[in-house]
Structures are given as C-alpha cells and as structure tokens.
C-alpha cells in the first residue's frame, strides 16, 4: 500500500466542502441585530476545507496505521485486551439508546434505566458487593469516587484524623495519584518477594490516622495474595477500610469475590474484564461497588426500582455528590450488559478459568528463556524479568520493540516497578493455543537473537511504518499542534 503521511490540514483546499445542510427555513435576521458586535468573533476559524471523500480516505488511511485487538494478539499485562464482541457494538448503536437526551422525562427512558439497574445488580453479584454505581468514567475515576466514599464514611462518623491511605509499592501510579486528588496523604508499604503485602510492614503503619488501604488481588505480579483476609481484618481492626482496584478481576469471576475477601469498596473496569473496547485510550467505565454501610455515600443520582418503573433519586443527603455529568458512560454500559448476558454465569467462570490456564501455559513455556522471578501458579497474568541469559546491552524495551517487527503488540513493560526489567504478559481467555504458541516461538527467537546479534534488537523495529521516536525532543521542544508553514 502507498505510504500516506499527510495531516488533514495539508489536504485542505479553499472552497471544498464535506457537508450539506438544508437551507435555513426561518426568516433570517441580521446577526448584528441579535448579537452585539463586541460579543462576536473578529477572526475566521481556519478549520480544514475538505470533501467527504477526502475525510473518509484520510481517516481510513490513519486507521491502517493502528494496531487493535482485531488486528492481532495484544498481551498487554494489566490491561486485559480481550476480544470486543461485535454484537455489543450493534446493541450499543440502537437508535432508541443513542438518540436519548439525558434530561428527557424518565417515563421515556425506562428501557435505559432498566438496563443500568440490571447491570449494576449483576456487577454487585459478580464482585460480592451490596450496591454498585455505574457513574465513574474510567478506572482512575472509580478510584477517585471510591476514595471519596471512604473519606465521607470516616468524616460522617466524626473521625477527621484519618488522612492517610496505604498504597503498596507494587501499585500502579494511579493509586497514589487518586488518593492525593481526594486530599489524602500516601503511606507506601513494602511488598514481599511475591509482590504481596508485607504483613509486618502493614502492621507497622496501621494506626488511627489510616483511612484505608488500596490493593488489587490478584496482585500486580498476577499472584493471588493468600493473606488477603488477614490483611483486610488488620485494616478493619485499625478502623480503616479496604479498597479493591479491579484491574485484575478477570482472573476470579465465579471463583472468588472481592466482597468475600473483606474489601469494602471496589471498582471494576468494564473496558477490561467486561470486554468493552478501549477505543485507543477511552471511553472506558469504572463502576464502583460498596458494602452495605457505605451505600448512603454513593454518588447521586441512584437508579431505583419501584413497583412498575425506574427512577433517578438525587435525594441522598450523605452522598459524596455528583462526580461527573449525568449517569455514567451509557454506551459503554450497554456493551458490558450484553457481554454479561452472552457469557452468563457459566461463561464468566469459564473466561476466568481459561484466562488463568492460558497465562500459566505461557509462563511455563517462556520461563526457560526469560527470567521468572517467582515460579508459582499465577492467575490471569505473569511478570518476567528480562532475558534469562542476560545480555547486558539488550533491555526490555529492545525486546518489546523487536516484537513489533514480528507483528505483535508487546506486553506491558517496566511495570510493576518492583521487578527489574519487567515484562508483564496477559493473554486473556480469548486467545487460542496456536496464537499463544506462535507468540512464544517469536519470544524464544528474540532471546536467541539477543545473544547472537544484540545490535539487531537495539535498532528494532525495522518493519513498522515509523521506527523508534525521538521522545526526548518531543518533550523538550513540544510541538502540540499543526502550524501552517508560511
């Protein structure tokens, strides 16, 4: 295919048009008679002038420069890049869902409210929580919401001393960032060699100033923290609450539930576990579930089921308030709802079982070639620590870049930080044995290449549309928009 390297602004031609509106059919009034001149812009916009065909070709060619789950294997650890079922897209684009104004009379939106109500019930059952709010827009937004709930809980009891949140050093950077936005101080604790919470380290920081602990289980190494009940008990005894970062729910559906492990607040990523597409960065959805005593703090409005209809209830005096516009990313919720309907209780459990089986299979085949810091049963993902036969100059980044040449999206790299040269692999349940085997063969081949010709890897990739980028000058001399050359 011919190489295409133009910006939409560079194909603009004066006088071209990509739209046609009906002529204005009301009597026109001179605009200056309606709006005083001092309120009108003096400048003309410089939006592109292109035909409909230009727009279609341009963005189609851009899409060809992207790699998605539909293109191929995407073993990006902690991101759960499973297949995005197409029926979900169809259902989410039904006009009677998409063409609804959020402020329409509730009588006219009963179907949407019922869908949301039922989805939150299903998510409550899957997570073992008592009630779920579908409002948060993303995982980080779910964290923010959950932490606000924790703060509101303590303050409502008149306990204003609890200003600290415990975050393990293995946690994603978003955890401490979210806690900080909610006005908490961060207390970092060490992880043990399994990436799990170090009990002594935890005990040493528990006191009356601790509002809660943020954790994911399976942990960021993909290992189930067997002490989870003891951990949550310890935090509870100290008066704190335990927050579940739902990034890793895909390993345990139908097998175990955060609610049964002692978690008080959870968020779930519908764009991970529940198959909604990532969209190149968003939109996602990060519903938050809570235990009974925290229900009253959930963000408003709450969708309630009455005898024969559904309503939006804003009258919740202890609620943390509103955390976003309207009620949640509805279009994403439709997709997750369809996924749960399609999979059912049996399918969700099977999905977790196969996600775990696939990950353990890949781990067992790769550990002879790549360093495996902890050799025990993993859950849905596992973390390698670079090449087993260390070749000093070949880094994890080089391995990732070489994978691009072989047509794969690389795994997550350099996370979690507690493993040097981390390569975090999450195959998900939607990949076949053949796909995994092909990827494994490539990983083995790269380990051989690293020994024979390290320079080959240092300069990779070769086969991509663009090669390694100069990220340092991108940040030092930022060019953040197109400027027409004069």
């Amino acid at each position: 295919m011919k190489e295409y390297n133009k910006l939409i602004f560079e194909i603009s031609r004066e006088g071209r048009q990509g739209y046609k509106l009906p002529p204005c059919d009301v009597k026109n009034i001179d605009i200056s008679k309606i709006i005083p001149n001092n309120l009108l812009s003096e400048k003309e916009l410089s939006l592109p002038e292109v035909s409909e065909v230009d727009v279609i070709r341009h963005y189609t060619l851009l899409s060809n420069k992207n790699y998605g789950v539909d293109t191929g294997f995407y073993p990006l650890g902690s991101c759960t890049m499973k297949y995005n079922p197409k029926i979900n897209e169809d259902m989410a684009s039904i006009e009677s869902f998409t063409q609804i104004h959020p402020y329409q009379n509730v009588k006219t939106v009963q179907g949407s409210l019922q869908l949301m109500y039922e989805l939150s019930e299903k998510l409550s059952e899957i997570s073992g929580m008592d009630q779920v709010s579908l409002q948060p827009s993303a995982g980080a937004h779910g964290e923010l919401t959950g932490l606000m709930i924790i703060k509101a809980f303590h303050e409502n009891r008149g306990d204003f001393k609890r200003k600290k949140i415990i975050v393990p050093d293995s946690a994603h950077g978003t955890n401490p960032a979210s806690a900080s936005v909610v006005g908490f101080e961060i207390v970092e604790i060490k992880s043990n060699e399994n990436g799990s919470v170090d009990l002594d380290s935890l005990k040493s920081v528990l006191n009356g100033e601790i509002a809660g602990l943020m954790l994911t289980n399976p942990n960021t190494l993909g290992l189930f923290d067997e002490n989870i009940k003891e951990i949550s008990d310890l935090v509870h005894e100290a008066g704190g609450l335990v927050y579940y970062d739902g990034a890793n729910l895909n390993a345990i559906m139908g097998k175990a539930r955060p609610g049964d492990m002692g978690f008080d607040v959870v968020h779930m990523n519908l764009h991970k576990t529940f198959s909604t597409p990532h969209g190149g960065g968003g939109p996602g959805s990060g519903p938050v579930g809570v235990k009974k005593e925290l229900i009253q703090y959930l963000p408003v409005p709450i969708i309630e089921k009455k005898v024969d209809n559904y309503t939006l209830n804003y009258d919740k005096p202890l609620s943390i308030g509103k955390i976003k516009s309207f009620y949640g990313n509805f279009g994403v919720l439709v997709r997750a709802y369809c996924y749960i309907l399609s999979m059912g209780a049996d399918g969700l459990k099977k999905a977790s079982e196969m996600a775990v089986l696939n990950a353990n299979y890949m781990k067992s085949r790769l550990k002879d070639y790549y360093y495996l810091p902890i050799d025990r049963v993993c859950k849905h993902e596992f973390v390698l620590g670079g090449l087993k036969q260390g070749v000093s100059e070949v880094t994890t980044l080089d391995i990732a870049k070489r994978l691009l040449d072989y047509g794969y999206h690389p795994p997550t790299i350099y996370f979690p930080k507690i493993v040097d040269n981390a390569i975090m692999i999450e195959p998900t349940e939607t990949e076949s044995l053949e796909t995994m085997d092909e990827f494994i063969e490539v990983m083995i081949k790269i380990s051989v290449e690293a020994g024979e010709n390290p320079q080959l890897l240092k300069m990779a990739p070769y086969n991509t549309l663009v090669r390694r980028l100069d990220e340092v000058s991108a940040a030092r001399y930022p060019v953040l928009k197109y400027t027409k050359e004069v």
């Binding site: 812009s41 789950v69 499973k82 009677s96 998409t98 019922q114």
Partner: protein, 447 residues
Amino acid sequence: MFPYIPNTLEDEKFMLKQIGVLSIQDLFKDIPDELKLNRELNINPSLPEIEVQKHVKSLANKNKSTEELVCFLGAGVYDHYIPSIIKHLVSRSEFYTSYTPYQPEISQGTLQAIFEYQTLICDLTGLDVSNASMYDGSTACAEASFMAVAHTKRKSIIVSKTVHPQIRKVLYTYTKFKGIELVEVDALDGVTDILKLKELVDKGTAGVIVQNPNFFGIIEDMTEIQKITSDNKSLLIMSVDPISLAILKTPGEIGADIVVGEGQSLGNKMNFGGPYLGFMATTTKLMRKMPGRIVGQTKDIDGKRAFVLTLQAREQHIRREKATSNICSDQSLNALTAAIYLTTMGKQGLREVAYQSTQKAHYAFNEIIKLENYKPVFNKPFFKEFVIEGPQSANVINDKLLEKNIIGGYDIESNYPEYKNTLLFCVTEKRTKAEIDGLVTVMEGIK
C-alpha cells in the same frame, strides 16, 4: 462452548500437561477454600446472540428517542446534526479496539488523529495548547480549577451561578475533597453580577469560572470579567459551547487562561449522557500544568515525521501522588469523533450550524413571546437557548408537550427556585420551521 473462548477440551488437556497440573482447579488452589465461591453466580446462564438481541431490543423499545420525539431540550447536551461518515470511520476496529498509544510505532493512527484534534481545539478556542480530551465537560472544569490552584498556589475558586448547575455540583464535590474553597458569585438579570464578582475576588482567588454562553443561553460580556481576573492575577477559566465559537468571540480573543467545555455536540450522539468528551485548552505558559494526555510531534530515527504521547513528566504513572491529576486516559474515540466532525463540517459548516441555530432559536423565541401566556425572563443577547416563563410549572407544560411528541425545555426552577414556571428551550439547526411552529401551537393551547 463459547464463541469468544477458542480453546477446546483437547487444548486444555495439552496445556495442563505442559504446566504440570492435573486440572484447571489446581490453578486456583492458591485461593483459600473459605474465600472460594462454592456456588454458581446468581446471574443468567449464557445466551446465544439471537436471544441477547431480542432481549436488549425489547429494552430499547421501552424508550422514546429523539427520532420519535421532537427535541427542544439542550442544557449542555445538544441535538445537532451528525454526518453519517462519523459512524463509519469511528467503527473501524483498528481505532476502537486499540489501547492507549503506548507503542507509537504501531499507533500512529490514534496519535495523529489526537494531534489533529488538539490543533482543531486550539483553532476553535483561540488558545495555544489542548490536551487529548478528558471524561466530560464537568470533570474538565473541575480539573481546570485544580490547575488554577496548583499554578497560583492560592486556595479559592470563584464560580458564577450562571454556570451549569451540574458543572457546579461536580466542582463542589471535587473541590470539597481536595480542600479547595469554592465560592459562588450571584447572577444579576441572567448574567454574572460584575459588582459582586469584584467584591469577591481577592488575593486568595486562584481562578474564576464563567460559562459562555451561560446556562440561560445568554452571551456574557467577558471584557470586564477578564479585567477583574487578570488585575488580581487570578486565572480566568471559561466553560464554552464549542459550536458557539464559530461566531462568538473566542476565549483566546477574550484573554482566558484555561478553556474547557463539553464536546458532545461535536458529532457525538446524546447517548443518555455518555460517553462524551471534555475538552481543555490553555496558554503555553500553563502547558506543563495541564492534566491529561498530550500528543506531540517528533521524528523517528530515520527522520520521518511521527507523533507520540509527550510531557509525561506531569502524569501519574511517573509522578505518582505528585501528578497534576490522577487521570490516565482520554476519551480518544470521542475526540476522534470530534475531529472528524470538525473536519467534515469545516470552516463553512461549523459557522452555518452556529448561524442556523441562532436564527432558528430567535425565530422560536419571537414566536413564543407573541403568545399571551408566555414571556421572556431575561432581556439579553442569546445564542441557541433562551428562558421563557409560562402559565404553569415546567413539568405541567412539558407533560402536555410530550403528549404531542415534543420534548420541551429544561426546568429552570428546579435549580433556580427564584424563577417560577420557567423553561430553557434550545433550538438547533436540525429543527425545522414546521417543528417550531408545532411547538408554538401546542404551547398556545396550554393555559
């Protein structure tokens, strides 16, 4: 079998053997028995596609959409025309099934589209730099208030009561938890009360938030507000309707420091409230304080132009608790939608959308106030929305309109009790004269 799970029983056996365990259950032995869910989840059993379709369509059929009803409702979400090509391009799965573009070599499609989006937002707003988009208009506004506090090292934010009540509620939640003081400045005759603003602004004011056109549809005179803000070295944060920027003075011309807004009307369906996108742009001076993802242009090692996520030193995965925000995503697909919309409509089209909306809104306004029982609430220049006082409560009027398949205006009284029996109507370019006349006829019959 499940269509999304390819491995067969044979595959399972083969893999178990390779791992060296006997059964899948052996892979879950690390979960203590007392924590295992020893029952099936209490949700439906799996359903084939045909059944899922039937069920979900039956839910959709319980709704009444704006395809069946004529919509005169706005209040932040707008029924503007959406070109067909958007659906086709945004449905390309190379776009929607990809992750955040962490591997730029195979993500140039998303990265370039965002770079173009940023350029388009800068052009629209007249400010220097845009981020890659945020959750929605209200959270973008809350993030802007954090940015103002971080930049000025002051602790208080002033927001006009003419800002959308929902945005103010989200702001209230965010600032309360962060420990920022939020002060509301009164409205006077439908616009921000300049004298009161002057009294409130002081050395503790990090930023002043004003919406334009404001919640009542009125175009605020920003000149004095800008002066008050800059004289006090506070930041001026504007929340704007992007469509209006095709004709109204831009935040750049006004001298705003940060501009945010709800990007839904840029080609995104109303979707019962989401997903949308919040846009945010600012000055070069404040660039490194801006939250969210940002795409920059650079070169690859062969010297070829390429795009990459940049200025990441601001972000949570590097800065952890010291980050400018906890946001670690954008609304990429909605930003792509906005970019395609702005590109398709182009310079002429966006202006025509703004122009026709203004004309039709004024036609509707003039026809409604001719009616005996209806009168205007404010006497100020407006864009595509206006407030009318009727003979009954908004609920009663809207119920009667709904009987005739018309979605009426937003109930102003629900948030501003001082304005009894008032509705905020919105008229976009999609409404025809016949539809407007139909609205007026039904309203005339409501006494």
